[in-house]
Each structure stands twice: as C-alpha cells, then as structure tokens.
Subunit: 336 residues, 2 copies
Amino acid sequence: MSQSFDIAVIGATGTVGETLVQILEERDFPVGSLHLLASSESAGSSVMFRNKNVRVREVDEFDFGKVQLVFFAAGPAVTLSFAPRATAAGCALIDLSGALPPEQAPQIVPEANAQVLAGLGKPLQVSSPSASATALAVVLAPLRECLDLQRISLTASLAVSAQGRVAVSELARQTAELLNARPLEPTFFDRQMAFNLLAQVGAPDEQGHTSLEKRLVRELRQVLNQPLLKISVTCIQAPVFFGDSFSVTVQSANAVDLAKVNAALEAAPGIELVEAGDYPTAVGDAVGQDVVYVGRVRGGIDDPAELNMWLTSDNVRKGAALNAVQVAELLIKELL
Amino acid sequence: MSQSFDIAVIGATGTVGETLVQILEERDFPVGSLHLLASSESAGSSVMFRNKNVRVREVDEFDFGKVQLVFFAAGPAVTLSFAPRATAAGCALIDLSGALPPEQAPQIVPEANAQVLAGLGKPLQVSSPSASATALAVVLAPLRECLDLQRISLTASLAVSAQGRVAVSELARQTAELLNARPLEPTFFDRQMAFNLLAQVGAPDEQGHTSLEKRLVRELRQVLNQPLLKISVTCIQAPVFFGDSFSVTVQSANAVDLAKVNAALEAAPGIELVEAGDYPTAVGDAVGQDVVYVGRVRGGIDDPAELNMWLTSDNVRKGAALNAVQVAELLIKELL
C-alpha cells in the first residue's frame, strides 16, 4: 500500500482549494507529485505543502497526462472548460463546482452514499456537492433508518466565506464603518450586510428560487437517493465569516422516536451531537472541524411525526474541501 | 369626538415603553394626562411627550383610579402584580408581556382579529402578542382568503434589541473587540454573539422548546383563530440590532395561486410587499416602519401546495409598541 498518486488541484488559491491542499497533507493522503493550478490572474503565487512552497501554475498550459486525479475547486466554467481534457487524459476527477450532470459525475457524500462509487465507469468522475447539501446529507442519511422522510423544510444561514475572500473583507469593512459611524459603502454586497440578514444569495429565477436553492434540493435528493423527497429551502446570507447553520424541520410518515433519532446521530460518522439543552454555533463549534454539529434535536410542539434540529458546519472545510478529500480516499481504492 | 383619555404606561423607560410613548404622540392619540411608571430603579428619569419632560414615577405608589387605560410594557411579573389593581380601579388594560391567559386578555392584532374586541366584558383586558406573532399574524391573516393553511414552518431570526439595551450594547462591544483582535468576553450572552448565530433564545423545556417558541405558537393560533394549525418554529438570535426576520414555509390544503396571494398581500393593511426578485431586510426596510415587509413570495420548488415568504418587521415598533397603540385606538371606541 505504498502507492501514491499524482494530483492536480485547480482553483488552488481560493479558500476551498487552499484548505483542500492543507487537508491532503493533514490526512497524509498518498500524494506523489502535487500540481497546483489556477487562472492566469492567480498563477505565480505559491501554497505550502509538506513544508515546501508549491508554485501555482496556469491551468491553460497544464498537461493532464501528468496526473491520475484532478480536483476542480474553481467555478463551474473552469470545470466545463477543463474536465473534458482531464478525462481525455484518463484522469479521475472530483468536481466541487456543481457544473457536471449527475449522470456524468454523481454527487457523493461518503457518510451518505459511498456505495455509488462502485458502480461508476472509468475514468471516474464524481461531484462533491454544495456545502449545504453535504452538511445536510451527513445528518439526514443516518436518520433514514428510523424515519420515513417525507418533507424537509429548512432555512440555511450561509457564511459570507462561501462567496470568497472579497465577501469576507467586505463584511469586516462594513462592520468597522458602522461601528465608527462612518457612511456605509457596500461594494461586493448590494446593501448593508453587517448587522443584517440578506434573504437571497444570488439572483432568483422567474419562480423566485435561486440556483443555490435549486442545487441544494437536487443534490440532496440525489445523495439521499430520494428523488421525490419534498424540500422547501431558503438560503440566506448571515453576517458570519465562516460556518453555515441550518434550521431544519423534518416531517416523517411515522411517529418520531427521539431516542432512536439521538442514537442514530450518536452512532453515525461525521456528526457531533451536542447534549440536550445546549446547541452548537458556527463560530464556537463548527469552524475548523471535520464534523457536522447537531443540536436542538426535538419533536414538534404537538406533531408526533415532526423532528426539528439545528446543524452547523464549516462550509469551506467539512462542506467542501474535506468532503472532496474523503471522496478521493474512497476513489483511490477503485484506482488501485 | 374631543374626548381624551388619561393613560398610564408601565415600563416607560424600556425600549418598547419609550417607543410606545413616542407613537402615542405621533398618532395624535387622545391622551389627557399621561402617567409614566417604572420600577423603583428606573423611576426618577423622564421621557419627552409633546415637548414636555414627563417624570417617570414608581408603579408601586400609583393610584390607578387616575387613569382609564393602562399599557403594561414591562415584564410578566409586573403585569401579574399590578393588573389586578388596574382592573379593580376599572381601568382598561393592554398587556405586552404575555403574562395573562387568553380567557382573561385575548391577544389582538388589529389587522387580523379586531372583531374579538367587541365581545369582551369590562373592564377591557387585551394582550398585544409577542413581536414575532404580531408580524406573522399581520401577513398570514389576509392569506386565509386564498389558502387553506395546514402547516407553517418557520425560522425566526430575532434582533438582540428584544432582550433590551444591555443586549444591544453587548453586540456592539463584542463586535468591536473582535475587529480589534481583543479577547472576547461575553457577559449578557453566554457565548460569542458577534458574527455568529445562536440557535436558542432563552432556556428550553424538557422537550427542547423555548418559552418564546411556545408563546409564538400559542399566540399565532389564537390570533388566526386556528387552534389546530400545525406550526414548527425555531427562534434564533441573530447579530442584528433591530428588526426581526422570518423565513416562512406555508403548506396549504389547496394549490397555491400566487397571483391571488400577491393580490391579497397588496390589498391587506399593515403590509408592504416588495417587488418580485427583490427582498426586504431588517436594517434597510423594516426598522422604524409601521408595516411588515414581505418579499421572496414564491411557491415550492415542485410542491404546488407550498408557499414560501420572507418577512421582516421592526420588533420594537411594529411588533410591540405600535400594535399596542393600534389596539388602543380600537379599544377607546369601546370605551366611548
């Protein structure tokens, strides 16, 4: 088992790409050579890996024949441009952008649907879902044992880091301006983000749903293998730097046995269940951690078939970079 | 119609009490003499009313025989202590604390259930619901025309001002500490509130529900006169100074006709419907306003019987002080 893999990470200078490289090192992933790639603007900088600076190079000029596995951690356009070249060169790929259809690259969350990998043709093409779908799938998957999931209604309060470093800086800048009673000048966000909640992340379609919301519903149904599951979702932007939080109501066809729910959550991988009466927060618990935190597990006020929970997860780490690496850990077994 | 009323406001130095006094003046309420009352700690200060400083006096020493109408804008204990004295003196009362049972003092939101007032015995005793129940009732009441409401699932993101001035100061202080990289020392909140979301407001009961959540459910059912309406609610604390926001999913027994929903919201009093594609925010829209803002009105992603909305409302003004004054405006017609 000393085999190693030559790997490319596209989008290596972004928040997710950088964390992904860090996690490859932390988890001692069998990396042979590591190729960090980015668009021409970001190329030229370098990222630390195993105590060495690895230079970030232009993806345009990359020869995919050099690697066996590629992570696509940039935007959907980059995936659509370069995935064909990667697969033509025989590379396995893991896409984090949501660009590829599930028939081509199914969404995988190892805690929920690892078995999907075994049925795939080569070169292996897999998607790592949006941070929200990943966190929710980790928690909902083990509940299928004890609940007959009919409907999920959720409000996802997303951290600004999902929108990149510019959004993080703007929240800090807006906050400082307000505390210092200076005039507020929103730039990245179209209005005041500090001390406020924005009800919409991205532009809505004609029906009023954002692509993030539609993506979450699509991915969650696919990962849970419940194509008819009813999901109501509102994704809002919270003035939080890192860590997504989810207020979740589940309707089951059967009465909810809270003891069984708690036992299933305790036993499941990738979850930290906080004690009854307490609750986790993005900042205090989830950030920097490898698990989805779950708290406020409770029934309905008077509906025996209802379950309510509060989830929080590091959107960059657990929601994106770590899930992709966990998928890679499974995937290399198929490559061996 | 030149009759005026002698009025007492208990809790006059709190955020709600102070706003209530201001609204009595703004709306030219027929106030004869105004008696501002508070606990012994707050007595002695003064509040402006019609260009005069009105001294705040101790409620303990007040002779309720001097007034015809009393607003209880302090905590439940104060209402329970002094409501019997007020009614014994023949005063009408409006309680904002939630302390009185609905049989004694029904919850009233003028836009939703004004008709309840006509059936009450004297002295009139009325409750003004929690800020969340008030905002939701204003919006849900007119939807009963076009929807057969079966279930409401909601996440209420509450402003810190609902917890008083000390909570407002602490959010500001925590934020400044973090921006200046000083160690965070939570005092009022038990953990970091700045740049974070707290999943629970107040202590939960054995089943995991907070009293705020149970109050909201109880009040909303009473005001909408739908005692069997299923309501799932999570009240969270957002790092927002003023203005509550609500992510609401409604399940109807019939298919949702969005044109009818929009028309009903447009026509209803107390509501400002923002244009499709846009959404209101607490800070940018609701604060300081007399209406509940509604946006992101949309169906389910594929459930025709689902309706989703985003609401935002000034918790101190529309949610509490203004609603109490609106109730008073109806109530004095009964007293005349």
